[in-house]
């Protein structure tokens, strides 16, 4: 069996089209209040480029390729870690009136529950 993924021509275009459409719809549903974390969050998501950087670096066979590959992984890792750090930090700041008056445990409990729900 062959598990190699090969995408050429139209298959790739279909993937692009569907992903672009999904992105448009998903992002369209994000309220304006979260637009900054959304931007840093989507920023974090394109940090997946680090995976491509790793592929390039691991396959490098000349010093030039190693240098560029190192640079790509370095930047990609920065993109991922930084994007995540700021997004997580910002999202933690958003509280409702209930959270701020009644303390945090309530909010955490609700999160944990909601989380478990979706996983089951």
């Amino acid at each position: 069996m062959n598990f190699d993924i090969t995408m050429t021509g139209f298959v790739a275009l279909y993937v692009f089209m569907l992903a672009g459409f999904a992105g448009w719809v998903i992002i369209g549903g994000v309220p304006a209040i979260l637009h900054t974390p959304l931007m840093s969050g989507s920023n974090f998501v394109h940090g997946i480029v680090v995976v491509g950087g790793l592929f390039a670096l691991l396959n490098a066979s000349t010093a030039l390729e190693q240098g560029i590959g190192f640079f790509a992984v370095l930047l990609g890792a920065g993109n991922v870690a930084g994007g995540y750090a700021v997004t997580d930090r910002m999202l933690a700041m958003f509280k409702t009136s209930n959270d701020t008056t009644k303390h945090k445990p309530g909010a955490h409990g609700r999160h944990a529950k909601g989380h478990a729900h979706k996983k089951s």
Partner: protein, 482 residues
């Protein structure tokens, strides 16, 4: 066998990661579910990064002797890049968020460009389609890298004034054409055309031109337009990542890149609409220079001023107050004091809401984050469309550090440069207070007709100092009553 197992492992984990990215972003549709969403996306990312080390089992024969060094380099790069950016992200001030996002964005673009460079220099691409896509991704990624750095410099105040020269658009166009031409040369060179300069030299020239274009394109854009620019580069990086994903035949990169590309495009359009300008207008017409006396002529009426304490007491006895914060609030570091004052009003059973204009702040939604940081619950924060009708039934509108976004000239005065821009109807409130440093025009240099309306009174002073006085005034009342 090992190769197949590797393919299955990488393919499977990447598939899950791609799902988690989209699901995580979907969770951002509410502030309550968003933190869990980003964590899920984070899990996907960690998985995708770890599993990509399995690529060591599939490397080319040429790379095999260098494998140990390459692995070491990868670990070092991940460590340095990750730890440095993590630390910066954890410590950065919320007001500095736009430039931070610009930097991370540029890094992503640079990484995409780097991947393209390895593919090109190593002559790894096969076929014309792959080569064209690689070059396109390299071009967009490089523009995003250098452009984001300029955006960072502008937002951080390193570059103060936009750099503009006559005929700049033609120069930029020329650079773009040269870049594309060099790209064409690389294309031919890679297909065996014999040139005086070697193929690698042309590739290097191509990257150089693309980087220069990113710089030239961003330099003339004014600071006020940076929200749109950051959004555009976010879309660019996403697109570049998606294209390089195609080159590497990695669907996770393709999907994540395209999702982000679409997201960036949508945000760009939203921001441009909120500024009442087209994206092309932002990029190519160099707004942001103060419009000298353009638009509104002398406005009838005069600016009245009022003491902070009087305004505070009026709000204390009002039944409803809407606060319109602008970037000036953050510039004065007065968010905490504002929320302290709001808490006093809430304790006195005043209904308080915050009204946020889409362009309040220097990137989409930044004002919301700054208020959340100060502890303002998000159920008190309302966006333009949701709150604009409420002003008519509100006792007091308090405008702090905002100007153009409440200028009624945008509704009525066809000669005003901001005519047609959606604004917050603060002037419809029964009483308007504007906290402002002093008399004078706003960021864009446009006279604000609101300040001359009979319902409007100005509270002059630094936002923080004014709010301290307001807090004291309301506290004083409380003490007297008790």
């Amino acid at each position: 066998m090992l190769t197949q197992l590797t393919q299955v492992a990488i393919g499977g984990v990447d598939l899950i990661a791609a799902f988690l990215f989209m699901y995580g972003l979907k969770q951002m549709s509410s502030p309550a579910s968003a933190p869990a969403g980003i964590r899920l996306a984070g899990v996907g990312m960690v998985g995708a990064v770890l599993v990509s080390f399995l690529y060591v089992f599939t490397v080319d024969a040429a790379a095999r002797p260098h494998l140990m060094i390459n692995i070491a380099l990868a670990v070092v790069a991940l460590g340095i890049g990750g730890a440095g950016a993590w630390f910066a992200g954890r410590t950065v001030q919320m007001t500095a968020m736009p430039q931070m996002v610009a930097i991370y964005n540029g890094m992503g673009g640079g990484a995409a460009g780097g991947i393209a460079a390895v593919e090109l220099f190593g002559a790894r691409t096969h076929g014309i389609t792959q080569l064209v896509v690689t070059l396109l991704g390299a071009l967009i990624g490089s523009i995003s890298l250098s452009g984001s750095l300029i955006a960072w410099a502008k937002l951080d105040g390193v570059l103060k004034a936009p750099w503009r020269v006559p005929g700049q658009q033609f120069m930029n166009l020329a650079v773009m054409i040269i870049t594309l031409a060099v790209g064409g040369v690389v294309l031919f060179a890679s297909h065996g055309a014999v040139l005086t300069l070697g193929t690698p030299t042309w590739i290097a020239i191509f990257f150089g031109c693309a980087l220069v274009f990113g710089i030239l394109m961003t330099l003339p854009i004014g600071g006020a337009d940076m929200p749109v620019v950051i959004s555009i580069y976010n879309a660019f990086t996403g697109l570049a990542v998606g294209l390089e994903g195609f080159v590497l035949q990695n669907p996770a990169l393709m999907i994540a890149g395209m999702v982000v590309g679409a997201a960036g495009l949508l945000l760009t359009l939203i921001m441009a609409k909120a500024m009442n300008r087209s994206v092309a207008n932002v990029l190519f017409t160099n707004f942001g220079t103060p419009a000298k006396g353009k638009g509104t002529g002398p406005v009838p009426g005069t600016e009245k001023s009022v003491e902070a304490s009087d305004a505070a007491i009026k709000m204390r006895y009002a039944s409803s107050v809407i606060i319109v914060p602008g970037y000036g609030l953050a510039a004065a570091h007065a968010q905490q004091k504002l929320f302290e004052f709001v808490k006093l009003l809430l304790a006195a059973k005043v209904s308080v809401k915050f009204a946020i204009h889409p362009v309040a702040g220097r990137m989409p939604g930044q004002m919301d984050v700054l208020l959340a940081e100060a502890g303002v619950p998000y159920d008190m924060i309302f966006q333009l469309d949701d709150i604009n009708d409420d002003f008519a039934t509100t006792d007091v509108a308090l405008v702090i550090g905002a100007n153009d976004v409440v200028n009624p000239a945008a509704r009525s005065d066809k000669s005003s440069p901001i005519f047609g821009m959606p604004i917050l109807n603060a002037d419809k409130a029964k009483q308007v207070y504007v906290i402002k440093r002093g008399q004078g025009k706003g960021y864009s240099g446009i006279v604000n007709a609101l300040f001359y309306e009979p319902v409007c009174a100005m509270v002059y002073g630094d936002a923080q100092a004014v709010l301290v006085k307001m807090i004291e005034a309301v506290r004083g009342l409380g003490a007297a009553a008790a």
